[in-house]
């Protein structure tokens, strides 16, 4: 493309040549190199000015997850994974935040002026809030991850997006659910809430009242703007550290009740074994190295920054260790920024690769002192043989190993 400022460029080149002459003080025949300048410019458009887009060179996208295409033949959206292989920092851009719905849902197109949140059931004062009402109330802004139960290391994962892409982290703004429940006056004996969305299946989950009063957020803001439709616009529930399905989107109703309601979501969450039920509830300490990860190619031996994400449903990440020799020894990684509770935490470690085959692992410890296990440790705890198809019970928080081949290619060690 033609430079938009040919005169200025020519002038700059000319003056660079003059400076070169003056500095060297001789009439060298060599043409001095021009300072690098963009070869093209993004054409200014109303849209680009009004709402910016990323560069056309950035092609990282979400993909359907778990073998069911989204949207499916009905137009339902089920599981869509975030491209963790390209993630930087701790915030997932809203447009790349993973998506999951109650067994497939259409994304509702809700006019916020029409939207209402009703709080009723075992309360002294049933209340209905408009979006305007909610924005009048004291707000909180917190970083929180959300993770889907489908997120687990596996032999078939060809990308980190397949194995770990069903977690994301955003900055959420809204009203504490406890503020709303106190406004309504929860009656004694109410031990659960049922939270319900407005999508066509009206996905609803039973949540312990202890959790509802503790740290849940009724969020209207996400990463500095309104929550995106795929994330529950105009209002969603955040149940920090609990498995993804509890984080009800398009939130329209909260009913205070005295028993587990066995909603359709609850039914889908039933497990036969107590360990599966318990470990599929609050998420354990978990981490993964996002660079280098499966599918990447190291150009050669030498210096690299190993970088990854750690998170836990049990609170803040206290420590992350990295092994660059297949788990034989561990080094404390540096935690970048401040570790927030129930939020992705970026860690890094400098590494000089000697060019030989090796394996990279990370493991984290949370504020409860719980440590991310290996698959072998989990199998040993439950006294079952560690076969390649072994599935850790509940939400799988086991360590992921990436193999580095001597040619610099990176592989999933479980494949």
């Amino acid at each position: 493309m033609e430079s938009k400022q040919p005169n200025r460029r020519r002038f700059l080149k000319g003056s660079a040549a003059l400076v070169g002459l003056a500095a060297v003080g001789s009439a060298s025949a060599q043409t001095p190199a021009a300072a690098p300048a963009p070869a093209a410019f993004i054409k200014g458009s109303e849209e680009q000015i009004a709402y910016g887009q990323r560069s056309r060179f950035e092609t990282s996208v979400r993909t359907s997850h778990g073998g069911r295409k989204s949207p499916d033949a009905f137009g339902l959206v089920m599981h869509v994974a975030t491209p963790l292989q390209d993630s930087v920092g701790v915030i997932t851009p809203s447009a790349l935040h993973y998506v999951a719905t109650t067994r497939g849902a259409f994304i509702p197109d809700i006019d916020p002026k029409e939207h209402r949140l009703m709080i009723h059931g075992m309360v002294d004062r049933p209340l209905t809030f408009t979006m305007e009402d909610l924005k009048r109330l004291p707000s909180v802004t917190r970083l929180h991850f959300v993770e889907c139960a489908a997120n687990r290391p596996s032999a078939t994962a060809k990308t980190i997006q397949d194995s770990h892409g069903m977690t994301s982290c955003a900055e959420w703004t809204g009203v504490l659910l406890s503020t709303l429940l106190k406004e309504a006056g929860v009656q004694s004996g109410s031990s659960w809430i049922v939270a319900e969305g407005s999508e066509e299946v009206k996905g609803a989950s039973s949540i312990p009242m202890e959790k509802a009063m503790n740290d849940c957020i009724v969020a209207y803001g996400m990463n500095g703007e309104a929550v995106r439709p795929q994330q529950g616009y105009p209002l969603r529930l955040l149940v920090p550290g609990f498995e993804g399905i509890f984080n009800v989107k398009w939130l329209r109703r909260i009913k205070a009740v005295d028993q587990y309601y066995m909603t359709y979501n609850d039914f889908g969450h039933l497990r036969q074994e107590p360990e599966n039920a318990a470990l599929g509830y609050q998420i354990g300490p978990k981490s993964v190295i996002t660079f280098p990860c499966v599918g990447k190619q190291l150009p050669g031996k030498g210096f690299y920054e190993i970088s990854g994400l750690a998170w836990s449903g049990g609170g803040a990440i206290r420590r992350v260790e990295v092994s660059t020799n297949g788990g034989r020894s561990w080094t404390d990684a540096e935690i970048r920024g401040t570790a927030q509770r129930m939020a992705h935490t970026r860690f890094s470690l400098t590494w000089n690769w000697d060019g030989t085959e090796t394996a990279l692992l990370s493991r984290c410890t949370d504020e409860m002192g719980k440590i991310q296990p290996t698959r072998a440790q989990v199998a040993e705890f439950f006294k079952v043989p560690l076969v390649p198809t072994y599935r850790a019970p509940g939400q799988d928080n086991t360590i992921q190993t990436w193999k580095i081949a001597s040619d610099g290619s990176v592989h999933n060690a479980y494949s």
Partner: protein, 186 residues
């Protein structure tokens, strides 16, 4: 006089602490509005509306309301999930029968609740309570849970004995700071 005033002040403070919210934001929904919004059906069936239906009636509704088009004429083989249980294993558990709502849910109320709130896909909320009772009866009957002539209504539905009533692991009694699973170091 002073004492009286003091007493009324105390009463006033006391009652306002009980009966008033801190911010006074939001409005009070009417009883009818709450009833219309409240589609949650608990295992006790407390919220179930009046109405009734049998499997025979349900089989008809299953066709006329288009369920068959998506879930298949025999409740399997359609583009939407099967509504029919898998074959039982000898000495098996209810879990072998598949992740199928009208067989795996511990309570028949979940089946009623889900059909009422979510089906038929794209035309949710168009079924009458009688139709939902009939469809629930039909799905329970073809899965061998209730006999063909059983009448499902607000009284009988919560009493249906689902095969998985006891075979599921309850969730932990969550408290802040509580370990995920007793004795589990991870």
């Amino acid at each position: 006089m002073r004492i009286l005033r003091l007493i009324s002040l105390v009463l006033l403070l006391g009652s306002s602490a009980l009966a008033q919210s801190k911010y006074g934001v939001g409005s009070t929904p009417g009883k009818e509005e709450i009833r219309a919004w409240d589609i949650s059906i608990s295992p006790t069936g407390a919220e179930l509306p009046p109405g009734r239906g049998t499997s025979k009636e349900g089989a008809r509704v299953y066709v006329t309301k288009g369920c068959a088009a998506c879930h298949g004429a025999t409740a399997k083989g359609g583009p939407a999930p099967t509504l029919l249980k898998a074959e039982a294993k000898p000495n098996g558990t209810p879990w072998d029968l598949g992740r199928v709502l009208p067989i795996r849910s511990p309570y028949a109320t979940t089946v009623w609740d889900y059909i009422n709130r979510a089906m038929p896909l794209n035309r949710e909320g168009t079924l009458t309570p009688d139709e939902v009772y009939a469809l629930t009866a039909y799905l329970l009957n073809i899965n061998g849970v209730i006999p063909e002539d059983a009448v499902m209504d607000a009284q009988s539905l919560p009493k249906v004995r689902m095969p998985n009533r006891e075979a599921w692991a309850p969730l932990p009694d969550w408290k802040p700071g509580m370990p995920r699973f007793a004795g589990y170091p991870y």
